[in-house]
Amino acid sequence: MTAVPVPVALPVPKRRGLARRLLSTPQASVAAVLLVVVVAAVALAPLIASVPPDAIDPSHAFAPPSLAHWFGTDELGRDLFSRMLYGGRYSLGIAGCATVIAMLLGVAWGFVAGQAGGWLDEVLMRFVDVVMAVPIILFGLILVAAFGASVFTLAIIIGLLLSPATARIARAAVLAELQSDYCLAAVAAGVPRGRLLFGELLPNAGPVLIARASLVAADAVMIEASLSFLGLGIAAPAASWGTLLQQGYANIFSSLSYVAFPGLVIFVAIWVLNTLGDRLQAVLDPRRAR
């Protein structure tokens, strides 16, 4: 009797600002600051980079980090810091586009399946199961080998590969919302299917999906880096973080900083997006986060 947890309902639940609730843990605050720093640095690369990313200086190959070259230099003496800044444009650009594609496709997929029910639901979700049963990297390798590795194809391929997991979450959200009285009221009012899904339901499922998008973005960064590391990234001389990591790894005995910095940045980017995604989920959708 005594240990029973009692939910004490605050009489007037005041909604604190979303940003404030989001940043109420130290990790989330750090992640948010890092996200702003990384995105700003990448976006403002031409202003920040003191040396062009493709300026060769063979006499300074494999230079350790210094004031002139913060992250050191690569095998051709190019400034690694500049290359990271510009590489981020590829990495984050591909990841961003892939996230948009994964969300659009996944939400439409899950919504249609959840709302339709019956055989259509069955077919669509079995397809999700099939796609998700194969490791994403394996699928990615095949598709990139088949269609080539440009920013455009990489974004589409990664987006496609991440959409089934999103579809599953979107479908669950639809099914939960369809149970609710306001949806029943809308059906009883004769609201057509499309309007029900995207006019009534989507705003309510929005929080779940926003949190999901952040996690998808983390996955996209990871997959892009993995593909690049396996040599299927965008073609030289352009280089994403994953490409840099791979090249650094190839030269690991010449320079430790060459492999360390790309690895660190990729790790940080994924951690930041995952942390914010989890936190968003906890704040926007407390039921699921548990």
Binding site: D181, Y182, L184, V187, A188, A189, G190, V191, E200, G206
Partner: protein
């Protein structure tokens, strides 16, 4: 006597049992008619099938067997698309005032939704109609821009009622419509519902577990027990001479705000 507005014939609705082996007979051979302009009460406890019946009446759920006729048209088995033209004639008010309103929409959008779907009204005409409806249910016009979480349960329920009557339907199903609001507000809503019925000539189905409320609202009353309609009678008759054992036990269980009567009760 006028034609029946709604006819339910041998309605049966089975759901698969959670274990998957058996079926749950939520509604088991229920038949009744509802006359235009009356309030038909459905009383029963949880699991009696009263909510399933109200969904079947509106074509929100399909019966396993049997049929529902609305104004002579058989609506059982109709797709939502084919039902759409009929939707404006039948509406529903739900139990949970907050859950039945879309929490991301303003009151104006919520009440305006059926208008947007069915009437060819322009946006400004719709807004005017929303204001009219708010006035009808006793809410000030500034409520139009509020969100559900900014209102009390009673106020939300008034919005739910305004939405239900927006298209001037003939039939409104009140599914436990006042069960979740406070006692002092409950009376306001009941009075409002009776007023609206008089003004708009509505036909009500009043679904509740509360015998006293059903008695106050209804002309004829059906008692549901384990999915079956065990008694169907005029209000007067039902309370003067309850025939079925279950009706009697239900009547005896209603707590009465009179301590003088408890010695005989407990």
């Amino acid at each position: 006597m006028a034609e029946s507005l709604v006819v339910a014939e041998h309605l049966v609705r089975h759901f698969p049992d959670p274990s998957g082996k058996d079926v749950v007979r939520a509604v088991d051979d229920v038949s009744f008619e509802i006359r235009p302009g009356e309030t038909f009460g459905l009383v029963g406890e949880s699991g009696s099938g009263k909510s399933t019946v109200s969904r079947l009446l509106l074509g929100l759920d399909q019966p396993t067997r049997g049929l529902v006729r609305f104004d002579g048209i058989e609506i059982s088995g109709m797709s939502q698309r084919r039902l759409r033209p009929l939707r404006r004639q039948m509406q529903m008010v739900f139990q949970d005032p907050h859950a039945s309103l879309n929490r991301r929409k303003t009151v104006a959008q919520i009440i305006g939704l059926p208008l947007a779907v069915h009437s060819g009204l322009s946006r400004s005409e719709r807004d005017r109609r929303v204001r009219q409806l708010l006035d009808l249910v006793g809410l000030r016009p500034e409520f139009a821009s509020r969100y559900p979480h900014e209102m009390s349960g009673g106020q939300c329920q008034r919005v739910g009622i305004a939405r239900a009557i927006a298209l001037e339907p003939r039939l409104v199903i009140l599914d436990e419509a006042v069960s979740a609001v406070d006692v002092s507000v409950q009376a306001q809503i009941l009075n409002l519902l009776k007023d609206l019925q008089r003004q708009l000539g509505l036909t009500y189905v009043f679904v509740s577990h509360d015998l006293a409320l059903v008695r106050y609202m209804s002309d004829r009353i059906g008692v549901l027990y384990h999915g079956q309609l065990v008694e169907l009678a005029d209000r007067h008759e039902l309370f003067a001479e309850p025939r079925h054992e279950y009706t009697r036990s239900l009547l005896a269980a209603v707590p009465v705000a009179d301590p003088g009567r408890r010695a005989t009760r407990v």
